[in-house]
């Protein structure tokens, strides 16, 4: 990992960044109607895969912006970084 390619600043040292967990989790659009179980799943349940993970990072000691990372949680190798709002990259097995 060591070097992270911020979509805004380019390659910087890992110590400048923090990870904030799984990306692409959509907030239910009808919070008043979903069941407690559905709301609990949205708030707390995560995929936590052993393999490819899509996750949110911030560049704390740089541009301070949020972006997404596609990373292998077995090797910690970063496969791609991309801006918030862009769609999830394809995984080529």
């Amino acid at each position: 990992m060591f070097i992270i390619d911020c979509p805004y600043c380019g390659e910087r040292d890992q110590t400048e960044f923090t990870c904030h967990g799984e990306a692409h989790i959509a907030r239910p659009s009808n919070p008043n109607e979903v069941s407690d179980e559905e709301w609990g799943r949205y708030l707390f349940f995560r995929n936590n895969p052993k393999g490819i993970h899509f996750e949110r990072w911030t560049h704390d000691h740089g541009c301070r912006r949020w972006f997404n990372v596609m990373r292998d949680t077995v090797s910690d190798k970063i496969l791609k970084t991309y801006k918030m709002g862009e769609s999830r990259p394809e995984v080529n097995e």
Partner: protein, 413 residues
């Protein structure tokens, strides 16, 4: 065979060449009443209590590597029970009560040492936090003392109380301390095996067979096995196992590291923790300083932490103990810990019938090993939670009744 002074003398006559094996390596049978997945302290302990207290005969513990090779053998062995909430106090204090008799219960020296643990307070806010927790412990019957700065300075002579991280006071639990991690795994394994439990190492569970909503079997690297009940105790791999049975967990797996120094003469006779500057340290019986800190922010199964975390541990350590600044660190390693949103464990039923789970111990489950194993054994046996394990169900993430030790105390271990 019982370990005793008599057997020690007897075996010394043959130069200790003829001790019998502490446990055997049987073949996997085709069918078990209960299979425990994960041969850490919690899993082995569960098997032991199932056999000993609930008379279950046909049990196996399946471990993909060697027993105790997970977080049990990688942790910094801090044991305490001074948690904030009543539910946690009950659970962790149950464990401390069992720790006190564990060596004689297992006939294996787990080197439980109640040397006392100091949580340092570095600010007015910290003082308020330890006071709140201290009084809550007091109400729950957990031994606790709130110390001022002078008392701390007197009791821990090498601590720099006037440095960059001034010490305002500390919360002391005298019944807290450390134990030998490997001995806990080995002691439970030996005691469980003597009650007929099959301990099967190098046996990875690769699939969980569910039929009509009930667990019926496991696929392993050593073949298939039929089961009546299964207890999952796989720590960092909890989500991986849960996915095999078709459900998700409120868990993230993250790296947590520790390191040890070269061995030195006795210098620190207690455990020191600082949550604000985030470091903790104790001295092992071999003389090494055992140092740990917080976990990394990203999910990982790599079993190694980030490099900069080492500096985050060492900087506050040498500030608090300038006398340690010229010590060499000998080894560092990482484990993968299973962290829940409220930093409390998950013990109980799953969406699959007869499949139970004990996980989410995250950065601080070693201290709970005997208590966790004991209540989980009862939960698996009865098929229902116990008074102590009840509040730690998976359902709390739907009902909202979290046992929020994270926000309340910000305590890692």
């Amino acid at each position: 065979m019982k370990y005793s002074i008599f057997n020690l003398v007897k075996n010394s006559l043959s130069y200790h060449q003829n001790w019998e094996k502490a446990w055997n390596s049987p073949d996997l049978k085709s069918e078990y009443d209960v299979v425990i997945v994960g041969g850490g302290g919690h899993g082995l302990g569960t098997a032991y209590y199932l056999a000993k207290e609930f008379g279950v005969k046909n049990i196996a513990v399946l471990e993909k590597g060697w027993i105790g090779g997970g977080n049990t053998g990688r942790n910094t062995t801090i044991i305490r029970s001074n948690y904030l909430w009543d539910e946690s106090a009950a659970l962790y204090n149950h464990a401390v009560n069992l720790w006190e008799g564990l060596s004689s219960e297992l006939n294996f020296n787990v080197m439980f040492s109640q040397r006392g643990l100091y949580h340092l307070a570095h600010s007015i806010h910290d003082m308020q936090e330890i006071s709140r927790r201290g009084y809550s412990n007091y109400l729950n019957g957990i031994d606790t003392e709130i110390l001022n700065k002078d008392q701390v300075a007197k009791q821990i002579p090498h601590l720099n109380v006037n440095g960059r991280y001034p010490v305002h006071g500390a919360l002391l639990q005298r019944r807290a301390g450390t134990a030998r991690h490997d001995a806990v795994a080995w002691g439970y394994a030996r005691a469980a095996e003597s009650l007929g439990v099959d301990i099967i190492q190098n046996c990875e569970v690769k699939g969980i067979n569910v039929s009509n909503g009930k667990v019926v079997g496991l696929e392993t690297s050593k073949g298939s096995v039929k089961v009546d009940k299964v207890g999952l105790v796989p720590a960092g791999h909890s989500s991986v196992l849960a996915n095999m049975a078709g459900f998700n967990l409120p868990i993230n797996s993250v790296p947590l590291q520790a390191l040890v120094s070269e061995p030195i003469k006795p210098i620190l006779d207690c455990v020191i923790m600082s949550n604000s500057v985030h470091v903790y340290v104790s001295q092992s019986d071999k003389g090494e300083l055992v140092v740990g800190a917080g976990s990394d922010s990203y999910n990982s199964y790599s079993q190694r932490g980030s490099f900069d975390m080492i500096e985050h541990m060492m900087a506050p350590l040498v500030e608090l103990f300038p006398i340690f600044s010229r010590l060499k660190m000998l080894r560092s390693w990482g484990g993968i810990v299973d962290v829940t949103p409220d930093r409390s464990p998950i013990i109980g039923k799953t969406p699959v019938k007869d499949l139970f789970i004990n996980c989410g111990w995250g950065t601080g489950g070693f201290k709970a090993t005997p208590g966790s194993a004991h209540v989980f054994a009862e939960t698996v046996f009865r098929g229902e939670p116990t008074d102590i394990s009840g509040p730690f169900s998976l359902e709390r993430h739907f009902s909202g009744a979290l046992v929020d030790e994270a926000a309340a105390a910000a305590v890692a271990h």
